[in-house]
């Protein structure tokens, strides 16, 4: 039996939650609104109704060429995610299903590699990349993004895999399932949701990574983080253009995130919520 809820309580809760949610969302909303204003409108004080012009978008496209950056972002995010999964799935699998004495320590150590501030090792990495000819290359950046997200990916997969009960395997074996049958019909269906939400989170982290993607690229491999950085110094009247560029940079991942937020949030808890 659910608790009896008075209508009054519900009205108050709804109003309060919506106000807070809209305040949190406001900077994004206002940016989207401003992107449909002309530059003159954008600086004429607070105004929630734009004239609906697309001129900022066409100007941004003409000035910086959105699609090349967009394509790089997609390639880097998806590519690094696939690389990370190839390395991480077997590792998480083995730690979840045949844990040893050191499993907990290995996991903690892996996470601790993320504590190393990127900027501390920028110069050595830069030299290594230069000597290997990987500067401003997609493959180099993909490896980089894979490495920095690997601990989180392993950790997340591990918490998912650990929830798969071992008895199910034994039951399948009793029923005469072969190892192959076990993997295809029993384990894979149970592991797919976990792998999928790990993939989503990693794509988001890779898409938004804004240190290595800016420092190790110039033009060829530069993703949207570099695209938006070219707007960091003010250039006359640029509020509407900045808004259009910002909207373009975040829209793909924002939409993806909205559609997948349920799976995403469950994965983000890193096994903290049973």
């Amino acid at each position: 039996m659910a608790r009896a809820v008075t209508t009054q309580h519900k009205v108050i809760a709804t109003a309060a939650a919506w106000i807070v949610a809209l305040l949190i969302f406001f900077p994004i909303l206002y940016t989207i609104i401003t992107s449909f204003k002309s530059e003159q409108e954008a600086i004429q004080g607070f105004n929630l109704i734009p004239s609906g012009t697309f001129e900022s978008y066409t100007e941004v496209q003409a000035q910086s060429g959105y699609f090349k950056f967009f394509l790089n972002s997609v390639i880097l995010a998806v590519g690094s995610t696939i690389l990370a999964l190839i390395v991480a799935v077997p590792a998480a699998w083995s730690m979840a299903f045949s844990p040893g004495k050191w499993t907990k320590d290995i996991l903690m150590w892996m996470l601790s590699t993320k504590m190393m501030p990127a900027v501390a090792v920028l110069f050595p990495i830069y030299l290594i990349f230069r000597d290997l000819g990987l500067l401003d290359s997609r493959i180099g950046l993909m490896i980089m993004l894979m490495l920095i997200n690997l601990p989180i990916v392993i950790w997340m997969l591990y918490t998912y895999f650990r929830e798969i009960p071992g008895e199910i395997l034994e039951a399948a074996r009793m029923d005469g399932a072969t190892l192959w049958g076990e993997i295809v019909y029993v384990l894979t269906p149970m592991a797919v949701p976990g792998i999928a939400s790990t993939m989503l989170l990693n794509i988001i982290l890779a898409w938004n990574e804004a240190f290595w993607t800016i420092r190790l690229t110039t033009t060829e491999a530069a993703p949207l983080t570099a695209f938006i950085s070219s707007f960091s110094s003010p250039q006359g009247l640029f509020w509407a253009k900045l808004s259009a560029a910002s909207t373009l940079a975040i829209a793909p991942i924002l939409i993806m995130g909205w559609f997948s937020q349920k799976q995403l949030v469950r994965g983000l808890t890193f096994g903290a919520v049973k």
């Binding site: 969302f25 900077p27 996470l111 501390a120």
Partner: protein
């Protein structure tokens, strides 16, 4: 069933990631330590050579050094405080029965998907700009003088931006934890006459403790290396008022080309991160074992 064979298979599956992460950790770190003992300036290579600890003493005697460590800790501490307390309050609010909860969740999680440079640019130009920002519009509406956020309160401004980025993460994890709380337990507590406050302290908060530790651990990792937000908004200034340790290292390396000093700073940053990590890990390790 764990035969020798499956165990060696397990090791074989684990090996690639361990090796990769080990190389990824050790090689750059070793190089950084090596450079930290060198005088190395690509623009002025004449005096390059081995200099023992002088980079460390130079970095240490830099007036910005202590300030940057303080700023790093203030930034991590305040954002954790805001996001954890704000996240708990928001989670409690969103957990109430209401209309349109799905949309509220979507609106609240959105900042998490915004890349740091965009978040910083939007806050800098659209919200906090002393002339054209929304805060300035509001101030003028009430007849007040608009605040020059990045000139007068640079650290506060950065803390607000970073907290805005991380509040959704904290809120949604804590909300998930809250929703997994057994309804019957809550009812039983209510029947026993426990008020909202004591229910929160004795039932809800202990139930959320694991989630809170995860929030603190994950956020600490990312907050220790905040960089883009500072670069875009204040550039570390005015003076060194909003320079954190990563940003100071960045300035030494990429603006002044003092690679040796920057490397010494990097080594110090790694040590600081490890001290913070040690405490965070210990707390989390304890909490996750439960």
């Amino acid at each position: 069933m764990a035969t020798q064979q499956t165990r060696s298979l397990a090791r074989f599956m684990l090996a690639p990631s361990v090796v990769l992460l080990f190389v990824w950790m050790v090689v750059p770190l070793a190089l950084t330590i090596w450079f930290s003992f060198q005088q190395y300036n690509p623009l002025n290579p004449i005096r390059d050579g081995f200099v023992w600890f002088s980079n460390y003493s130079l970095f240490y005697s830099n007036p910005a050094f202590l300030q940057s460590i303080l700023n790093t800790l203030v930034l991590v501490g305040s954002v954790l405080l805001i996001t954890v307390i704000g996240g708990i309050m928001l989670a409690l609010l969103i957990d109430q029965p209401m209309w349109g909860q799905g949309i509220v969740r979507i609106l609240v999680i959105s900042p998490f998907f915004v890349m740091p440079p965009v978040a910083a640019l939007v806050w800098k130009n659209m919200i906090m700009h002393p002339q054209y920002g929304v805060f300035a519009d509001i101030a003028r509406f009430f007849g007040a003088q608009p605040i020059d956020w990045f000139g007068q309160h640079p650290m506060l401004a950065i803390i607000i931006i970073v907290a805005w980025q991380w509040l959704p993460f904290a809120t949604l994890i804590l909300l998930t934890a809250l929703q997994s709380l057994d309804g019957e337990q809550k009812e039983a507590a209510e029947m026993d006459g426990a008020g909202f406050v004591s229910r929160f302290i004795y039932l809800t908060l202990p139930h959320m403790s694991r989630a809170i530790t995860v929030v603190i651990l994950i956020q600490t990792i990312f907050l220790l290396s905040v960089y883009a937000e500072i670069l875009v908004t204040t550039n570390g200034g005015p003076g060194y008022a909003s320079t954190n340790l990563p940003f100071l290292v960045y300035q030494k390396a990429l603006l002044e080309f003092k690679i040796g000093q920057a490397s010494a700073g990097g080594v110090i940053a790694v040590i600081l991160a490890n001290i913070v990590a040690f405490f965070a890990m210990r707390a989390v390790g304890k909490n996750l074992d439960k």
